[in-house]
Symmetry: C2
Subunit: 551 residues, 2 copies
């Protein structure tokens, strides 16, 4: 019984077993039964394979019906979050490609010693330990991965499951947790407390705060000099012991964190290819980006003290110890849905209506901030460009014209003229120097603001998915009139975590922008003071002993 | 006996009685006899009238010969100074148009009360009192003017006269004086001493130095309000009494001075039409130009104390007194050739070879200075333009982007955010203000330099003619082997005056540029300090009480 289905959205096959389907195309569906959100069928080209169930509508007796019966998050005019989850932001890291899960499931750590090229971080992607791909970025989930089948078995069956398997709510594990499907042993040390602060729920303050410095990268070799790579020296303040890490280690860590924490905004790593605004050393630029990244990591109460990050920061050069920690992190059970099990909410549950309002406001806030940061970044980059080109050129030209004046004056070699000639020549040099100051200045201030904006654009790109998880939980609770099986309590946990993360975002935003604006202004002040000093220096030349006293 | 002549240079008729002739045209010459440098003839269009003898070569028996038999200053490849005397400089004032000499010779002062339009200063041009038109600007001399016939009668006849009547040497009266044709009664008070200073001949220092302020012009009316004009209040320090003068009075004075002093560089008046670099009030710009002019006048030992200038500075509102002084100045006998009679040279005559070398060097100096001032003026004007457009715009844009950031931040109204929001908004305003500072700054410094350069370009335009007079005298002396009739002494007087004027130029140049560069740098320093203060102000906002103490 071959059914027909009409294709609603274009779908490009990204993995073996998938087939591409095109909007308005009519495809054959082999079975109405979905495999975790996928249908098997044949497209009009005669290719057979899997495609997302939510991308098609099955045609029954001339009536087209969506296989996605539950309306939640099923877009009317847009394809599912698959293609819309990363607004305004380039996809940089692609850790969620499940295609190498087999490879990793063999437990091979050999790849760690390969001389990975930093340009292929995806090779160390999440390795099928959890039931869901990480929040960000979103790619397709292949059927056949170790799935939530066990968890499905535990489903209460009283609350309907969301059939859109592409929903972030589902993929993050939020749905599974809400439905009581999550189950794991949580040690006391893994507990994460949300407390009620002055401004609402917040992560319990870090009792052992620390920071971590990153040195300029150094070139390392292995295999008797056959291979070389760059290594960053990290020194956390709580151990005060330097460890060496490569960019690929950062990348591996990032993938673990994204997988581990569904509603925490893990800061994006600096882009691999620095879009060289200036001819600055790429590695130095990356190091600055990593410092921003590290700064956010160590100041986040949850991220700073999670096991995988601590392993990353503190594990010494002993390869065996490193591998053990690595394997442990990759086998961590408290990822995705189970992360929520670690959260201890405040004793009084939140008012869900209030939470909804606050989250709506925050959504507007992030939208506007993202828009304005785009404008600001463009302006600042353009201003930096103007300073290194136009401004410098103008001051150079003025300097040169002063020099021309002094060159003409030098044809008159009477002694009373000499002092002036020299002073004007010096003024010309001063102006040329001021032109150089303008060209150098953006590295001291605008670059830093630009780096900060990049970091925050990364956070802003994370939040739609985070908010989505909370929204999904809230919708689910509203749909279920009977408050059974602790649904409300679990929704409260998700809400508390989300609100705490939002609050943390605001705190760090205010802290980071305050300190960066102060840094910027201090740099600008010392810049203009440097110019002033140069001009004062030039002015003195007009009073010096070379001047004819008789004049 | 109609002769033919080949035209060497284009000549445009400028006055009644003249005809236009074109290079390579063959014209008919009615008589080989010149009338003070002019020939009468008929051009190929059939027009009859006068044209300059030096512009044609008479064709005799197929041999072309120049009517200008004496080689001095007869250019081989260029037309005579008629068209080359004002290098790189626009003809601004045209006082030497002799066409209204009849009008003025009637002694009419009525025109003084007419409501002259400032745009026709030439209507108060030199009025035929001297034998030669003033040095600058040079236009044709009409036959039939009261000429040097009397003086010719006194000519020694031993030294040949220069037949090129267009030569500045001739027109300035330099030749007449050198040949001993000048004669006038010189009172002690009119004596001008050249002394030998540390650096060579110089004008005797002014024993009664003074300066003169110029107030912003005020609108005056006359004929019961029917006519209005702008009047400048001048207050010389030696009388401390304000007099009111219109631009046309400056213009009249300028014409008198140019006529009076053959080898003194009379500063040019500011241009009538200020080429409005900025939207500044035109009158205020002219006033600044007049102040530079006045500053040069009062600091010149010869110009400052000459009768006509003193009359201009000190004569009160009594119209009768003004007219008397005006008539006296216009009837002054010590103009042109006779000016040299007033000069008392140092007792030891100058080494003419040394003078020649120095003058050659000075010529190179003025050439280079003029070239470089052209470049500098263009650069400075462009820089001013950039500051009022590009620089302002860039700072405004950065300011606006800070404001955008604060607007996004304001969507989060938690108290710990408010202080930062306000501080960033303030920083945005500060940057906008700094943009305005950049736009306003050129009025404070670059404009002044530009005015100074304008003044000096005027001087540089004067010097070729001044040097020409000295060179003419020197050439004449070299041509005449016998040192008779005081020729050498008179050449020494011309040389002393020229050298003194050159020295004065250097002195004022060093003084003016030193003070202007100092002024410029002081302005720039206070400009950058103002910016720094604004930024410091903004920086303080980040520390204020609005910040959450807990952060």
């Amino acid at each position: 019984m071959a059914l027909k289905a009409k294709v609603l959205y274009d779908f490009l096959s990204e993995n073996p077993g998938e087939i591409a389907i095109t909007q308005n195309e009519v495809v054959t569906v082999f079975s109405e039964e979905e495999l975790e959100g996928w249908l098997e069928g044949e497209n009009s080209k005669g290719e057979t394979g899997l495609f997302p169930a939510s991308y098609v509508m099955i045609i029954k007796d001339q009536v087209i019906s969506s296989p996605n019966k539950n309306g939640y998050s099923s877009p009317k005019t847009q394809p599912p979050s698959h293609t819309t989850s990363i607004p305004n932001y380039e996809k940089v890291h692609g850790p969620a490609d499940g295609s190498n899960s087999l490879h990793t499931s063999l437990g091979s750590d050999d790849d760690w010693d390969d001389d990975w090229d930093d340009s292929s971080p995806a090779s160390d992607a999440p390795q099928g330990l959890g039931s869901s791909p990480p929040l960000y970025p979103v790619t397709t989930v292949l059927p056949g991965r170790r799935s939530s089948q066990q968890q499905q078995a535990k489903s209460s069956g009283l609350v309907g499951k969301n059939l859109n398997r592409f929903s972030t709510f589902v993929k993050s594990g939020g749905e599974a947790f809400l439905l009581g499907e999550a189950s794991a042993f949580v040690k006391d040390g893994d507990k994460i407390c949300v407390v009620v602060g002055k401004y609402g729920p917040e992560w319990q303050e870090d009792p052992y705060p620390f920071t971590c410095t990153i040195d300029d990268p150094t070139k390392q070799t292995k295999f008797k000099g056959m291979k070389s790579y760059m290594s960053y020296g990290l020194t956390p303040t709580h151990t005060n012991t330097q460890v060496n890490r490569r960019y690929k280690h950062f990348d591996w860590l990032y993938a673990r964190l994204v997988e581990r924490f569904p509603v925490i905004s893990v800061p994006h790593l600096p882009e691999k290819q620095a879009t060289g605004r200036f001819e600055e050393d790429f590695l130095s630029k990356r190091r600055k980006g990593l410092m921003w990244w590290m700064n956010h990591m160590t100041s986040h109460p949850v991220l700073a003290h999670c096991n995988v990050f601590q392993h990353f920061l503190t594990c010494g050069p002993d390869e065996k110890a490193w591998k053990m920690g690595k394997r442990k992190a990759e086998k961590d059970d408290l990822v995705g849905a189970n992360f929520f099990l670690t959260i201890s909410p405040p004793s009084v549950p939140l008012d869900l209506q209030e939470v909804e309002n606050k989250i709506d406001n925050f959504k507007m806030f992030t939208k506007k901030l993202d828009d304005n940061i785009v404008v600001m970044n463009a302006t600042i980059n353009e201003f930096a460009r103007k300073q290194t080109t136009g401004f410098q050129k103008e001051y150079h030209k003025v300097g040169q014209s002063f020099k021309l004046l002094s060159q003409a004056f030098e044809l008159d070699q009477q002694t009373f003229s000499l002092g002036l000639n020299r002073a004007i020549a010096y003024t010309g040099e001063a102006y040329e120097k001021i032109g150089d100051y303008f060209a150098e200045q953006p590295h001291q201030d605008l670059d830093h603001i630009s780096d900060l904006l990049d970091l925050y654009r990364g956070h802003l790109a994370n939040f739609p998915d985070i908010l989505h998880v909370q929204k999904g939980a809230l919708t689910k609770v509203k749909e279920c009139p009977k408050q059974e099986g602790g649904l409300q309590e679990r929704c409260n946990i998700i809400s508390c975590a989300t609100m705490a993360e939002i609050q943390h975002f605001h705190r760090t935003r205010v802290r980071d922008f305050r300190s960066q604006m102060q840094h910027h202004l201090r740099q600008q002040i010392s810049f203009f003071q440097k110019i002033t000093a140069k001009l004062e220096n030039a002015l003195q030349k007009y009073d010096d002993d070379n001047a004819d006293p008789g004049l």
